[in-house]
Symmetry: C2
Subunit: 222 residues, 2 copies
């Protein structure tokens, strides 16, 4: 297949990222576009989650994907195989995206004809939580391989997101992961957190997440 | 058990981290102390690797551990149960340690009577690779749950370390992880990289890593 477009993102020169993020979010809401910022550690299953989400929803809404990575274009190539528009954003070594960098990506992908734009952030459980991208919806993935103690060690991420997907539950037998504990730790930081245990590989539990996202995007579009 | 000591690390005011790191490394080498900086994504198995390494070597050399995290003291408490001296470093939200922050930790733990100091860095595959801590030995862990494509996406980390431990090989049957590919990708970035596939949980493959580290620390001590 053709290579996807790779965009070299420039470091933002914004002095006030929070203000820029609020402005971007207001513009997106006015246009009835959902911008989903997906965050997690490296290897938690962001790309496979994006692909399964697209397969479930691409006939109901218009979806575009921005894959952010320090290097390579393998994720955008994989996502483009679903048939949706995908671009690869290279962050030039940067460990996160902010609102200015996100806006650069949106300018390149073009959002006028989209209902849902998914931004797969750099794999990092720390820095992306510190920078508001301007997204209208923030989602994180924790895979059960990472352990249920992660909300205790990386509290900011768990307190900032709207949704936590708990991935790789098909491997639960091999890992000492306590689903009740992780939910209790996370909800202590973030009482309104939506939580969906699932496997993006087998599809187990995935419908609940897709149903929730469908309702959310439909609410935005109305 | 008693709670371990938690040290709130201050942000460094160093203008030249590389120079500070080189000076720290020279001082450690002059005192015949190995400072091992251990880096990985969250949940790759750093703490269990530290504990199994200690159990193997604590009767042969004097070991101290600094556990760096944004929050909590659970890792330092676990490590202290092995009987070695352990402190918890809180980074105050910072996503990495630099040489100045590492020096603060070393001042607190006290290194005069130690042969090997293990610094468990913040779980992050991006930022810790950008900041030289002054360590004499840099080691990373990649768990097979994270996927064999990680050297393509996070090249700096793989190019900076002396050793790559490939953890959780006991779970290999469940994951589509290509051991040959990851080694080829990593060695392309770093031809001299030492690689040890292992399971810190079952102990499979662990002896090769411990034997290598024993020889390395003994060489430093002479």
């Amino acid at each position: 297949m053709d290579k996807v477009r790779v965009i070299e993102i420039k470091k933002s020169v914004l002095e006030n990222n929070e203000r820029a993020a609020d402005l971007l979010r207001e513009r997106l809401k006015a246009r009835k576009i959902c911008l989903l910022n997906l965050m997690s550690s490296p290897g938690s299953g962001k790309t496979i989650t994006v692909i399964r989400t697209i397969e479930n929803l691409k006939n109901e809404m218009r979806i575009g994907v921005m894959e952010a990575d320090i290097d390579s274009d393998i994720d955008a190539v994989k996502v483009a195989e679903t048939g949706v528009r995908a671009v690869q954003l290279h962050t030039g070594g940067m460990c996160h995206l902010d609102a200015g960098m996100t806006q650069q990506g949106l300018n390149e992908i073009g959002i006028e004809d989209l209902d849902l734009v998914i931004l797969e952030n750099v794999g990092n459980l720390v820095c992306p939580a510190e920078f508001d991208t301007g997204a209208t919806l923030n989602v994180m993935i924790l895979s059960i391989c990472e352990g249920h103690d992660k909300p205790l060690k990386y509290p900011l991420m768990f307190s900032k997101v709207d949704v936590m997907l708990i991935n790789k539950i098909d491997c639960a037998a091999l890992f000492d992961f306590d689903l009740d504990k992780v939910q209790a730790y996370a909800r202590k930081l973030n009482p309104d957190l939506e939580i969906f245990p699932m496997s993006a590989k087998t599809g187990e539990g995935f419908d609940a997440w897709v149903d929730w996202l469908r309702r959310h995007v439909t609410d935005v579009m109305i």
